[in-house]
């Protein structure tokens, strides 16, 4: 049994929320730099150059790379041998989000769904907790922008629609989104499970390091085919037309009911922010 004070959780979440917003990941920077060379369209290459410059300025000036600092989604992997002390665990995470968004000058983008009154401190975060073996606590803070989230979809396909149906829905979702979610995008696809699990898989798929295919060669092949189909849409950087509409399509899959074929498509803008901390 290992003891972790929840105050440490608050501090970790706060720092992760801030750095996720200021500092683009190395994998993303590499993908943007490659795009600036490989994109065929002139306007597309210019967009990639702007995004690289934007990332540099954000890091140097301690500015969020995007004004939409997101709804904070926090993925928790809690080792079953961890004992959390000193307070309520979920409240500790919310406190970290509140402090991070306050002290980091991040935009507070949450509101009451009906009155639209801003909650004022970007809480409540959406927390997904999984109990795993071991004595570690892994926290992944994912500030998720609204523009790309709005373009995401869940489909309950008939099993008869199969792989062809999945491809059609992924492509249709990206086509319909067009320039709206700030392409070049990353596409998270969740296949299987239930209605809500498919969506969760799609979101988790966004966390994978850019450029790494799925470990299962069959799924990796499906990802490759989907990426080609999506990029054939010609939407391109900022939607101005080009070869690179998506930097990656990442799939996660699990078994589903014999009657169902749930497919969720979670779209992530190029400001793909996620910061992982292990306590």
């Amino acid at each position: 049994m290992r003891t972790i004070e929840v105050a440490k959780v608050t501090r970790a979440v706060k720092e992760a929320a801030i750095s996720a917003n200021y500092e683009a990941g190395e994998d993303l920077l590499r993908a943007l730099a490659r795009g600036a060379v490989e994109e065929e369209s002139e306007s597309g290459r210019e967009i990639f150059r702007q995004l690289l410059e934007n990332a540099r300025l954000a890091r140097e000036q301690r500015l969020p790379m995007c004004q939409d600092c997101g709804l904070a989604v926090v993925f928790v992997e809690l080792g079953q041998e961890v004992h959390l002390t000193g307070g309520n665990f979920e409240e500790a995470i919310q406190a970290g989000v509140r402090q991070g968004y306050g002290e980091g000058f991040l935009r507070k983008s949450l509101c009451h769904p009906l009155t639209r009154a801003n909650t004022g401190d970007n809480t409540p975060a959406v927390i997904h907790t999984e109990i795993v073996p071991g004595d570690r606590l892994k926290l992944t803070v994912v500030p998720k922008g609204g523009g790309s989230e709005n373009m995401s979809r869940v489909y309950m396909l008939k099993p008869a629609e199969g792989v062809a149906g999945i491809k059609e829905k992924v492509v249709a979702t990206v086509r319909e989104a067009g320039p709206n979610p700030c392409p070049p995008i990353i596409v998270g696809v969740g296949i299987g499970g239930t209605f809500e699990r498919a969506a969760l898989l799609a979101k988790k798929a966004l966390l994978r390091e850019l450029g790494l295919p799925h470990g299962d060669p069959e799924i990796a092949e499906l990802e490759h085919e989907l990426l080609t189909l999506v990029n054939d849409l010609g939407i391109g950087p900022a939607g101005l037309g080009g070869r690179i509409t998506a930097l990656a399509v990442n799939v996660l899959m699990q078994p589903c009911h014999i009657a169902s074929l749930p497919v969720a498509v979670n779209i992530q803008c190029h400001a793909s922010r996620h910061q992982e901390v292990v306590l």
Binding site: A58, Q67, N150, G236, G241
Partner: protein, 187 residues
């Protein structure tokens, strides 16, 4: 052939008529911010027969909810938000003389038609380039609806804010033209 145009509001019909899709427009001077909640407030005021806090004649609205300014800075990150959410309000504001909107993403047919009718233009700024665009903003001040926080109407003074004409007042759409060039037919 796309050209580079420098514009400072208030804009005239002639300013708008010269613009064609793909033109780069560098915006300087005073512009106003408004996104979802501010648009609703503006249109609610109009429906109640009340005056608007800002005269929109000849003006440019920037669809943005900036992040808070760190002490010593004018503003935080300030890139465009997705414009379609303002589509139901935009024609009403163009009728009042609004000449340009800055945002990102597609507009609906009614907005494109209103741009033709009222001689207005839709300019795209680079989505997600909030830190970069922030450098062009020299002054920022909340001038209406402060209770809306990031959604309040700000008066910005900008210098060479880079945009591109997405929809001109001739009904054309840069997204459609640009994407058609790179689209590959499905196998």
């Amino acid at each position: 052939m796309a050209k580079i145009v420098k514009l400072t509001p208030p804009l005239t019909d002639e300013d708008v008529l010269q613009l064609e899709i793909g033109d780069q427009v560098l915006v300087s001077g005073v512009i106003y911010t408004a996104r979802d909640a501010a648009h609703k407030r503006l249109v609610d005021l109009l429906q109640a027969g009340q005056p608007l806090p800002v005269d929109l004649k000849g003006q440019i609205l920037y669809y943005v909810g900036p992040s808070p300014a760190r002490p010593g800075r004018v503003i935080g990150a300030a890139g465009p938000t997705t414009s379609y959410r303002m589509d139901s309000y935009a024609p009403t504001l163009m009728k009042l003389g609004l000449k340009a909107m800055i945002g990102k993403g597609k507009r609906d047919a009614a907005v494109v038609k209103a741009m033709q009718e009222y001689r207005a233009v839709y300019l795209g700024a680079t989505g997600g380039a909030g830190a970069l665009i922030s450098q062009c903003i020299k002054e920022a001040q909340v001038v209406a609806f402060p209770e809306l926080g990031p959604e309040a109407v700000h008066r910005l003074v900008v210098e060479d804010l880079p945009t591109i004409v997405i929809n001109d007042c001739y009904g054309r759409d840069l997204y459609e033209v640009g994407q058609a060039r790179y689209r590959r037919a499905a196998p």
